[in-house]
C-alpha cells in the first residue's frame, strides 16, 4: 500500500494537467476493462470489510453458533483498559513517526548533491526500507537484547548503566518505534529526494540573485515547492503508525503484559489467540474508522490545495 502511494504525486500531477478538459467516454469497452478489477476488489476487499463489520455484532469463537450481542462488543471495547492502552500507544507511535519526515528531509537535502558515488550512498541510506519489517524487527530485538545486545555495549562504552527497554513497560513501545523509524526515515528520504529533483532551478537561481541563502533559501523557496510531497509523506507516516503490527509481533508480542500493544496487534490477538472473533472484528471496525477518518482529512487537504 505504501509503495503505491509513492507514485501518487506523479499521478495527481498528470491528472491535474490532462483531466477536466474532456469528459471521458464511457462505453462497453470501458465496462469490460474495469469489470475484472471491480469484481476482484469487491470480492476480496469490499465484501470482507462488510462481513467483518457484521461479525463484530456477534459473540463467536470461530466454530459453532454465533450469538447476536448487538453493540455489546463495542460497549465492552470502550470500557476495556487494554483497548485504551492500545489506542494511546498508536497515538504515541503516530507522534514519534512524525520525526521520520524531519530526519528524512534532512537526509534528502544532505544527499541531494552531485558528487561522484552519490548514487551508491543514496542506495545505502534507502536500504532499510527494502529490508522486510520482520527482519528489521529481529535485528532490533537483538540490538536491544539485555545480555548480548549492541545497545548495552554502547551504553557501557558511554559509561551509562545498562538498560533493557524490551523488558520494561515504559521502554518496550519506544524500542519498537525506534526500529520502525529506521526504514520509515529512509522512505521519507526517498520521497523528498524525488521532490527535490522536481524543484525549479530558475526559482532558486533567482532567489540566490536576490541574496537568499542557507536557511532562508530553504525555508522560503525550497520548502513551499515541496508541499505536495509533504502531504504524501504525512499520510504515509500516519498510515504506517496506525497499522503497525510487524514490529509488535516480532519484538514484544504486545508485552510485557499489554504495555506495548497496538490496535492491529490487539485485534489479531483477540481473534486468533483469545478466539473472540466478534470482539476482534469490533477492534478492526474501530481501526478502519480511524484510518478512514485520517485518510479523508488528508486527501481533502490535498485536493483543496491542488485546486
Amino acid at each position: 500500500m505504501t509503495r503505491t502511494l509513492a507514485q501518487a504525486p506523479v499521478r495527481a500531477g498528470s491528472r491535474a494537467a490532462g483531466a477536466g478538459k474532456r469528459a471521458p467516454h464511457v462505453g462497453l469497452s470501458t465496462v469490460i476493462l474495469l469489470a475484472p478489477a471491480c469484481l476482484l476488489f469487491s470480492l476480496f476487499v469490499v465484501y470482507p470489510i462488510f462481513a467483518s463489520i457484521g461479525i463484530s455484532f456477534y459473540d463467536w469463537s470461530g466454530v459453532g453458533a454465533r450469538t447476536w450481542v448487538g453493540l455489546g462488543n463495542y460497549r465492552e471495547l470502550f470500557a476495556d483498559p487494554v483497548f485504551g492502552k492500545a489506542l494511546a500507544n498508536n497515538l504515541r507511535w503516530l507522534g514519534c513517526y512524525l520525526l521520520a519526515p524531519v530526519f528524512g528531509l534532512a537526509l534528502a537535502v544532505f544527499l541531494n548533491q552531485t558528487l561522484s558515488g552519490m548514487r551508491v550512498v543514496r542506495s545505502l541510506f534507502f536500504m532499510p526500507f527494502v529490508i522486510s519489517q520482520v527482519v528489521v524487527g529481529l535485528v532490533f530485538s537483538w540490538f536491544f537484547n539485555a545480555r548480548l545486545g549492541l545497545f548495552n555495549s554502547i551504553l557501557a562504552g558511554l559509561g551509562l548503566p545498562s538498560a533493557a527497554p524490551l523488558d520494561s513497560e515504559q521502554g518496550a513501545l519506544y524500542a519498537m518505534i525506534a526500529a520502525g523509524l529506521w526504514p520509515q526515515t529512509a522512505y521519507c528520504m526517498i520521497l523528498f529526494l524525488t521532490g527535490l529533483a522536481t524543484l525549479r532551478p530558475e526559482l532558486i537561481d533567482a532567489a540566490r540573485v536576490d541574496g537568499a541563502k542557507g536557511w532562508s533559501l530553504f525555508r522560503h523557496v525550497v520548502l513551499p515547492q515541496l508541499r505536495p510531497v509533504n502531504f504524501i509523506v504525512a499520510m504515509v507516516c500516519a498510515v504506517a503508525a496506525l497499522r503497525s503490527f510487524d514490529y509488535v509481533m516480532i519484538m514484544t508480542l504486545g508485552g510485557p503484559y499489554n504495555s506495548s500493544t497496538v490496535l492491529a496487534y490487539y485485534m489479531f490477538e483477540q481473534t486468533f489467540v483469545g478466539l473472540r472473533y466478534g470482539y476482534g472484528a469490533a477492534i478492526a471496525t474501530v481501526l478502519l474508522a480511524l484510518m478512514s477518518g485520517l485518510i479523508v482529512v488528508l486527501l481533502w487537504q490535498m485536493f483543496r490545495r491542488e485546486r
Binding site: 466454530v63 539485555a146 523488558d167 508485552g255 510485557p256 483469545g274 473472540r276
Partner: protein, 416 residues
C-alpha cells in the same frame, strides 16, 4: 506450544481438497524435521499394510495450524487432523465437529491405555480421538552447577527449593532460567504450585472456570510464588526472552534449573546431556497426591470428512503398540500405549515412570482453560512476576475475564 510464534508459512496447503477415492488426507501440525520424518515413516508403513489407501500428508507450521483448523472443521476438512486431548478436543466435540470413534476403543484397546488418557479423549462416555504421545513437565537442572553451589541433591520440597535458590544466588547463579515473552512458560509455575498445594480436583475446577481467581486458595499460589520472586530466583529480563533464548542460560552455566517440558532435551548437546538431569516439581504440602502436567497429543476424524472409513483405519493403526513405539522413539516422546517400549533415553524413562505412577494428569494451563482466559491470565502471571505488588489489581482483572467467560463461580469462597 514450543514452536516459534512468527514462523508463518504452511507447507503444501490447498492440495488437500482434491482427493479421490482411496486417498486419505492427513493434516499434520508440525514441520519440524524430526517430527516430519517420524510421521513420513509411519505413513509408508500404513500404506504398505493398506495397499488400497494412498495417504497425503500435509505439513503445517504449529501456530498457523492452530488458526486454520477452525476453518477446515467447519468447511472442507481433511480426513484426519492432529490436535490436543482434553479441553481443546471438547471445544470441537461440543459443536459436533469431530467424529465419534468409540468403536476403536474395544476392551483390549482400553487395556493398553492409562486411565487418564482414556478420560482425556472421552466426552459423555464416548471417544472422539486417539492419543498417541505425551511428555512430562518438570525441573531440568544442571547437576554440576548445583553441586558447585553446595547443593548435592535436587530440591524435593519447598525448603530445599528455597535453600537451593539462596545458595545459587550467593554464587551469582540464577536459580531458574525462564523466558516469559511467549507467556506460557510462566503458566507451568502456576500449574505446579496449584497442583502441589491444592490438588488436581481443585485445579480442574479452576481451569473449568468454576472457582473465582480471587479465591483464598488461588492467593496461596501467588503467596508462595512471591517468595521466589522476592528472592530473585527467576532469571532477569525474562519478559523479553522466549523459552529458547532463556535455555541458553542453563547451557552457559549462568542458571541452574528450568521448569519446562521434555522437548528441551532435544536441544541438549552430547556434553550437556551428561550434565543435565530431571526431577519432578517439589512437594509443597503433604497429603496432596502426585499430579503432573503431561500435554497429550491426539488424532481425530472430522465429522465432515469424506473418507471417514480410512480415517478410522489410520487412527486404529496409530493406537497400536508397535506403531506408537516406533513413532515415539523417533519423536523422543512417551507413547500413550502402555505396551509400547520407550526409547532408551534417560529423560524419557524418568518421564514414563513419573507419568505412569501419577495420581492424575493435567494438560497444561493454556490447554486446560479457555484460550481467551488463558491469554489474559498468563499476562497477569507475567505482570505479577515483574511487579508482585500489583497482585490486588491483577487477580480482579483475571476474575473479570473468568466471570465474563464462565459466569458466576460454583463454589464461591470468601475472597480475602
Amino acid at each position: 506450544m514450543p514452536a516459534s510464534r512468527f514462523a508463518l508459512l504452511a507447507v503444501v496447503p490447498l492440495l488437500g481438497s482434491v482427493a479421490w477415492a482411496g486417498t486419505l488426507v492427513v493434516n499434520f501440525n508440525s514441520a519440524e524435521p524430526a517430527q516430519r520424518a517420524a510421521w513420513e515413516t509411519a505413513v509408508v508403513r500404513f500404506e504398505r499394510e493398506h495397499p488400497d489407501v494412498r495417504v497425503q500428508l500435509n505439513l503445517y507450521d504449529h501456530e498457523s495450524y492452530k488458526r486454520s483448523i477452525r476453518n477446515w472443521l467447519t468447511g472442507v476438512p481433511p480426513d484426519v487432523v492432529f490436535w490436543f486431548a482434553g479441553n481443546r478436543m471438547r471445544q470441537f466435540v461440543a459443536p459436533g465437529l469431530l467424529e465419534d470413534v468409540s468403536e476403536l476403543f474395544t476392551p483390549e484397546a482400553r487395556d493398553t491405555l492409562h486411565r487418564s488418557a482414556l478420560d482425556l479423549v472421552s466426552v459423555g462416555g464416548r471417544q472422539y480421538g486417539v492419543p498417541y504421545t505425551y511428555y512430562q513437565v518438570g525441573l531440568y537442572f544442571r547437576r554440576d552447577v548445583l553441586a558447585a553451589a553446595g547443593v548435592q541433591e535436587p530440591p524435593r520440597d519447598w525448603r530445599d527449593l528455597v535453600t537451593a535458590c539462596e545458595k545459587l544466588k550467593a554464587r551469582g547463579v540464577e536459580p531458574f532460567a525462564i523466558g516469559t515473552k511467549d507467556l506460557w512458560p510462566a503458566a507451568a509455575w502456576f500449574d505446579y504450585l496449584d497442583l502441589r498445594l491444592n490438588g488436581l480436583a481443585f485445579h480442574t475446577e479452576l481451569m473449568q472456570g468454576k472457582v473465582a481467581y480471587t479465591d483464598r486458595r488461588v492467593r496461596e499460589i501467588f503467596a508462595l510464588w512471591r517468595e521466589l520472586i522476592d528472592r530473585g530466583c527467576f532469571s532477569r529480563n525474562h519478559a523479553s526472552s522466549s523459552w529458547q533464548e532463556s535455555q541458553a542460560l542453563l547451557y552457559g552455566g549462568q542458571a541452574a534449573m528450568m521448569l519446562i517440558g521434555n522437548y528441551i532435551v532435544a536441544n541438549f548437546t552430547a556434553d550437556m546431556r551428561d550434565r543435565m538431569d530431571f526431577v519432578r516439581f517439589p512437594t509443597l504440602r503433604s497429603g496432596v497426591g502426585q499430579y503432573e502436567d503431561a500435554p497429550m497429543n491426539t488424532l481425530h476424524v472430522p465429522a465432515r470428512a469424506r473418507n471417514k472409513e480410512d480415517g478410522k483405519r489410520f487412527l486404529a493403526f496409530v493406537m497400536r503398540a508397535d506403531v506408537q513405539e516406533t513413532l515415539n522413539k523417533a519423536l523422543l516422546q512417551i507413547p500413550v500405549n502402555l505396551r509400547s517400549a520407550t526409547a532408551a533415553d534417560r529423560f524419557l524413562m524418568q518421564g514414563r515412570h513419573l507419568l505412569a505412577t501419577a495420581d492424575g494428569l493435567a494438560q497444561y494451563f493454556d490447554r486446560d482453560t479457555s484460550e481467551d482466559l488463558a491469554n489474559i491470565a498468563m499476562k497477569g502471571f507475567q505482570e505479577f512476576m515483574l511487579n508482585p505488588d500489583r497482585l490486588d489489581a491483577i487477580l480482579p482483572t483475571i476474575e473479570r475475564a473468568r466471570s465474563r467467560i464462565y459466569g458466576a463461580p460454583e463454589n464461591p469462597a470468601p475472597a480475602q
